[in-house]
């Protein structure tokens, strides 16, 4: 029999800092990491049928560079680094995306899986971010979103990231190798989340924390 209606999705957002300080080798490594991320998703059947991916970039401005799309259609973009680090604007865009994209359970839809957001930044915000952060947290809570903040390099501010999310990872050295392994971990996390979605994991029973694999060497979890 052929059934009408769409299935539930696992929304995965990558919020990427493309400020001027990411110029050169770091942004090149990020672009390579995105290619690996694309390849990883496209070889995983769980991800292909459940993961939907979007990219939000921020420098002096913020934008949803790629709308939420199914993993099979995702094509890694080529990013360029410039400008400041407008984290506040990025959080505003992210919050709007959550409100617009995420579908709760209704008579017409079975309800999406809880969104996963990976925020990657290498420096202090250059805009006013505290207000947008509060708005974002409220929006994220109503959409049951899980935000994983990743600070890259020595200039990333742990306390800023900690105020945004319970899960904060720090990568001290921003070498191409470390960025590569970070994207491998993000890919693995997306696959694990897709798989657990497909197995109807009882995340809701334990408060909704995302089950993620352990980070690679050189990336520490801030407790």
């Amino acid at each position: 029999m052929e059934l009408e209606g769409t299935s539930r999705r696992l929304p995965i957002y990558l919020m990427l800092d493309v400020s001027g300080s990411m110029s050169g080798a770091p942004i090149e490594a990020v672009n390579n990491g995105l290619k690996d991320f694309e390849a990883a998703l496209k070889t995983d059947p769980h991800a292909l049928e459940s993961a939907f991916v979007s990219i939000i970039t921020f420098e002096s401005e913020a934008q949803q560079l790629m709308p939420l799309m199914e993993a099979g259609q995702f094509k890694a973009p080529v990013l360029e680094a410039q400008g400041g680090t407008s984290l506040g604007k990025a959080l505003d865009v992210m919050g709007q995306c959550l409100e617009r994209d995420i579908r709760p359970k209704s008579a017409d839809h079975p309800g999406d899986w809880k969104p996963l957001i990976f925020l990657m930044t290498d420096g202090e915000p250059t805009d006013s971010w505290e207000g947008p952060a509060e708005n974002f947290k409220n929006r994220a809570a109503t959409r049951s979103a899980n935000l994983i903040s990743i600070g890259c390099g020595p200039n990333a501010n742990t306390s800023t990231l900690r105020s945004l999310s319970a899960t904060v990872l720090m990568m001290q050295d921003m070498t191409p190798e470390k960025i590569k392994s970070l994207f491998e971990w993000i890919s693995q996390s997306a696959k694990v989340a897709s798989k657990s979605a497909s197995q109807q994991a009882a995340m809701g029973e334990s408060g909704g924390a995302a089950q993620l694999p352990p980070p690679p060497a050189g990336i520490s979890i801030e407790l």
Partner: protein
Amino acid sequence: MSDDKTSSRVAAVDQEKGGQANPEHVSLWEEREPEDATYPYPHIVSPPPTRLDDWDLFGASLRGKSHAHAGTYREDAFSLTLVKRGWKSHGWVIAVADGAGSCKLSRRGANLAVETATDSLRKANFSKSSPLDRLEEAASSALTALKNESKLIGCDTRDLSCTLLILLWLPSSVFVGGEVFTFQAGDGLIAETDQYGAMDLLAQPTSGTFAGEAHFLTSEYVRDTWNSRFYWWCFQETPASLLVMSDGIADDLIPYAKNGPTVVRELFRVRDYEEPAQALVDPKEKILTYEKSGSFDDRTLVCALRKDKQFSEPGSPSSLEKG
């Protein structure tokens, strides 16, 4: 699943087209046998039908492609049992359970919950006591069985987490269409339909706003809302069908208004087959074996179809007269 490995491989499908196959994608799903044979359960269950004077009852359960790919067992369970009301009239019980995907022993929990609940109702004397009380007793006994089992095998009760859906139908001297008593903990669906496949829910799922937020039989939420999990329905006109299913198929039927007639049409189509349950799991029939993107959970569907009813297409002359 099918004996033919290739038939269980599926093409990736385009979600926005409502599950149509995307020929550009190559299948990556595989079918593996479980390495850990603890608590083994068959990948497919499709028992013979129960033919009564007034109802045809049948159902089936099959392993989802996610479990097949991972090499793990099916975690759904169901049973269909006759019960007595008075010395010559009988009713019946359908129970369905779905083990929590994150719990390793949930398949054991699902089977235990179903067996315990139906066993309790099979022994109940409905002519001398309230069916609703007996249903409450059955659901409680299922929960107690999970707790006892966890002590016996040395695990946390949550490791046995599962949903539990029970539908008890009894004939009635007052209500021509009989009486239905339901209990639901977790997601999935208990519904009645008319002959056009229009669905009405007979219990409220304990699922949240987003996927993966189901509250299982063992959860605090179900414990705290226990009394509101039971329903009593009286029918002056007999429903054409009564359905109980796990979320693996129930979620795919959303929106019910569009997909209810589709599934009810198929059930009535195979009703008179010698083995209708086998048709449900036959890959060629595409009833429980349909393809839909993002749908990879176990699928269990048990139905009772009224003998004197036939499926009528929505929009048909008889439908319009009724409308």
